[in-house]
Symmetry: C2
Subunit: 216 residues, 2 copies
Amino acid sequence: MPKLRVHCFTISLDGYGAGPDQSPENPLGVGGEELHDWLVATRTWRKMHGKEGGAEGIDDDFAARPWENVGAWIMGRNMFGPVRGPWPDESWRGWWGDNPPYHCPVFVLTHHPRPPLQMKGGTTFHFVTTGAESALEQAVASAGGKDVLVGGGASTIQQYLRARLIDELHYAIAPILLGGGARLFDNLGGGPQGYECVELVGSPTAAHVRLSRTPG
Amino acid sequence: MPKLRVHCFTISLDGYGAGPDQSPENPLGVGGEELHDWLVATRTWRKMHGKEGGAEGIDDDFAARPWENVGAWIMGRNMFGPVRGPWPDESWRGWWGDNPPYHCPVFVLTHHPRPPLQMKGGTTFHFVTTGAESALEQAVASAGGKDVLVGGGASTIQQYLRARLIDELHYAIAPILLGGGARLFDNLGGGPQGYECVELVGSPTAAHVRLSRTPG
């Protein structure tokens, strides 16, 4: 069975997956860009961006996993871009340039319809207005038997955690304080119910946690 | 200058320093006792409790630090015991038996006056009704030039963080989910302001974080 996975979602020491005041200038909120210092230093990340060198080891092992056996992605609208409310036009095409790193269908959760957006390199953004479970069905159907990844942000991951649809969740803890923003562990109604920690490991630049859905 | 320090305060992956529904049966809330699995397995902890053996290494190094160069402790009333409201009598004498591990003055923050309580082994509990800063003044005055430790819980630590009175804060992250309770990073008004992470390190059973007050 294909799995629903989360990888490399990063939170601050005080628990925020994005800082306060998200904007086009600060896609991850004020101070939020530093969340990914551990990730952008890895060999995997640098290679994906045409650069040589980079850190190997624990961080790099985690950085490589999102790209293994993945057939489709799901993300929230705020991860796709800073536009809020109805789409004024089709000019916003994501943060990632003409050739996004996904190379497969990406389902964007939104309340506002928009035609699919085909990018270079095999990425097509599909805008889903029928809810998180519907997006998952469409993602699984288009993933060709491979797994589906939830990219983020926090509220999107929470929707799938509340429904207990995520199979495994890797997140990193970055050594910064943000003071506000979007918490990963929030709006879970006393949960996440039915998950356990299967790994907690430190690298020199982050701590990594893997949660797994318990059987039954 | 004596320092105000926090050591070994432990939070869950979802950020809680105690689980939900604290009670005499569950002093740290439901599931909260597991927070300290890393600590009670250490050689230092076992030795303090008259047992042999135990883990050495990172966890044990952190477990030993609360007891170095300490002249007084401060704790919140809920860390002292489960009694809420006015003290009905003087029968509650803490969680720690006749000979508590502090062996120095311990200042308990409460809204309800009570005479000092002298225990075996040099520990005296003083009940302070004049606020956190007053408790700190009294603790420093009685610490004989040594440092003062804040034991917890979360709301007590927050009071001193908001006032930027804590010099260094070590906390551990335990590989459990509690789903509710008292968050460490809460009620900080967008802070903690003026603190930075100076260490993030993993052991096999926990991640350890040290925050330090920034100069100025």
